[in-house]
Symmetry: C2
Subunit: 354 residues, 2 copies
């Protein structure tokens, strides 16, 4: 694989593509000079946008495609008819070693289906997962699976833990990320068997993971651990619930600070601090989920991201795609496979208790 | 059953019992005069507190018990050794028709186990559920199961929907509450089979429910429907995740508004509006989850609630215990049972699609 950091871009994916895609690349290129892009999509349309985006233009090559995957296409349909589309092209560029990662703000289901078909799952892995960044009280944490699949057995949860650790190292630059399984409660309300079995496996595995047992939902926002592991149904519900609550509170605050003349005046005086507050909660900074566990890096940007949000997804692609994630995952999966093979004779019960 | 509104109180349950319990009753009695209390617990200790709480003292009877269930006792242990405790006594008062409801801020697992044993599940119901109030953009919604059990099959989800509707009518005073099942996504990411089957059952049931299909996590905080139905694992994760996010944001805001002299000044000027904001998000107002589906009403207050929070749990007990919830649930369960008996021949596929 080429050593330059080339990133393949699905120019036509997303609610406001290709406009915000090129805005995003322009923002990236104004800030750093180590990235180049192959932009897949309608050449005329993209050329027009690049003409107004000099920094991105200098480091982008266009690959024409007149096909795009609709935002509401079913994955099965995308697989059947998507070949030759801008999304498919970007993923092929990763497979062929032209790019270290692909970024798309397009249809999530289609992106996952095409990526799996074109890049294939890492050897020894059962299922890839969607891993993303969660803003917390102490900075950021990684949460997965955010919805690549709906369920996960014990072994898959351990695979997620391995992948989450790799993501936290590469993207969040944490050298020894702490990892925990999302579970419910104290007071003898026990979680699913799969979760307890996953805890047992991790403890027995010698994976060298900074494993902290279980966390509960409230621990995510407080940033108790660096990597939170759960199945795709629960992860998706938790993520969206958090988005809803954050939106509810920030809307309410905005309403509050414009509710009277006095409130407006107070807000004006505290403006600088309030801007810092808003920046800390900016959802754009958490944009860019990696579809992890394939023989290549694919990053999903939120479909309605703006240029600044898209730029964040590009940074994630550069960090993850530029890391040795595949080797890391394969090495740890081998260790896990040995442990599972050995543990026909089960480990003592105490080890499974958090 | 007696027509006065008598509520049985576990005087010794909770992190700060009996102090905050009596504070809560005092707050209630200053605001309304239709409630009376039987307070179970250490007579000397409670008497001392009532001496300083004249409104509550005038409407409380003490039933002495020198046993209390520890906050960290296992449910099995509580069942074996809990008889004669303040918690057990309060629940027995409901069974014996002395009180319309019991309130406890004690050990959740123990409370559910003892309640189930003493009050028994409503005829025809598979499992009771914990239903609580969720503050939303538009007011409040009911969410269940919050963790009475970890899983739920299709029929149990429908039972939860029935109970959530009853709660929203009695406690949130909504005459025709809208109901939805919590699920994940658009884009062909399908939820668990049990959820789709529950949707089919509700649509086929003729329960007369204002059923709106599926909602996603972000819809909860936005108040899209009045009743959100999910299994106990997912409900507990969603609730705690929301608590964590709300806490993270409010702490960050507090930090922001004290970060500089200007920020402090602005906050001071906007104080009145900010107080309104804080009141809207006050978690105490959402206190009081009903353990619903038994032959009697049991309300769980948060273990660390203060007097004001405890008072809210008492209001929930008065509303729910004073309603005809048991009859309502039994009537609808009969309809559901008929539908399930009939639907050996399954309903057409289209009906199941949201």
């Amino acid at each position: 694989m080429d050593q330059r950091k080339v990133i393949a871009i699905d120019g036509m994916g997303g609610d406001h593509a290709p406009g915000i895609v090129i805005d995003g690349l322009e923002a990236v290129c104004r800030r750093r000079s180590d990235l180049e892009f192959i932009v897949f999509g309608d050449e005329a349309e993209i050329r027009l946008l690049l003409d107004r985006s000099p920094a991105a233009a200098a480091r982008s090559t266009i690959r024409h495609s007149d096909k795009r995957i609709a935002m509401d296409a079913k994955p099965s349909e995308a697989l059947r008819r998507g070949k030759g589309s801008s999304m498919w092209g970007a993923i092929e560029a990763v497979r062929d070693g032209e790019a270290i990662a692909a970024v798309s703000a397009g249809n999530t289901g289609a992106l996952m289906a095409i990526s799996k078909l074109v890049l294939r799952t890492v050897e020894g892995l059962h299922r890839p997962a969607l891993v993303g960044t969660w803003p917390t009280r102490r900075g950021v944490s990684a949460v997965l699976d955010l919805g690549a699949d709906i369920a996960a057995d014990a072994r898959q949860l351990v695979e997620f833990a391995i992948m989450g650790e790799v993501f936290a190292r590469a993207v969040h630059r944490k050298s020894a990320p702490t990892v925990a399984l999302l579970n419910i409660g104290s007071e003898d309300l026990k979680g699913h068997d799969s979760i307890r079995e996953a805890a047992r496996l991790i403890r027995a595995s010698g994976l060298g993971m900074a494993f902290e047992g279980y966390v509960e939902g409230n621990d995510i926002g407080m940033g108790k651990v660096d990597v939170v592991v759960t199945d795709g149904f629960t992860g998706n519900v938790a993520l969206k619930t958090a988005e809803g609550v954050a939106r509810m509170i920030t809307e309410l605050l905005k309403e509050t600070l414009t509710s009277s003349l006095r409130a407006r005046l107070g807000a004006l005086i505290a403006m600088k601090a309030l801007k810092g507050f808003r920046a800390r909660l900016d959802p754009r900074l958490a944009n860019g989920a990696v579809f992890l566990g394939l023989n290549g890096c694919v990053v999903k940007s939120h479909g309605s991201a703006d240029g600044e949000g898209y730029a964040q997804a590009v940074y994630v692609a550069a960090d993850m795609g530029g890391s040795g994630f595949k080797q890391d995952i394969e090495d740890k999966l081998r260790i896990l496979a040995e442990v599972i093979a050995r543990s026909a004779e089960p480990v003592s019960e105490e080890d499974a208790v958090s």
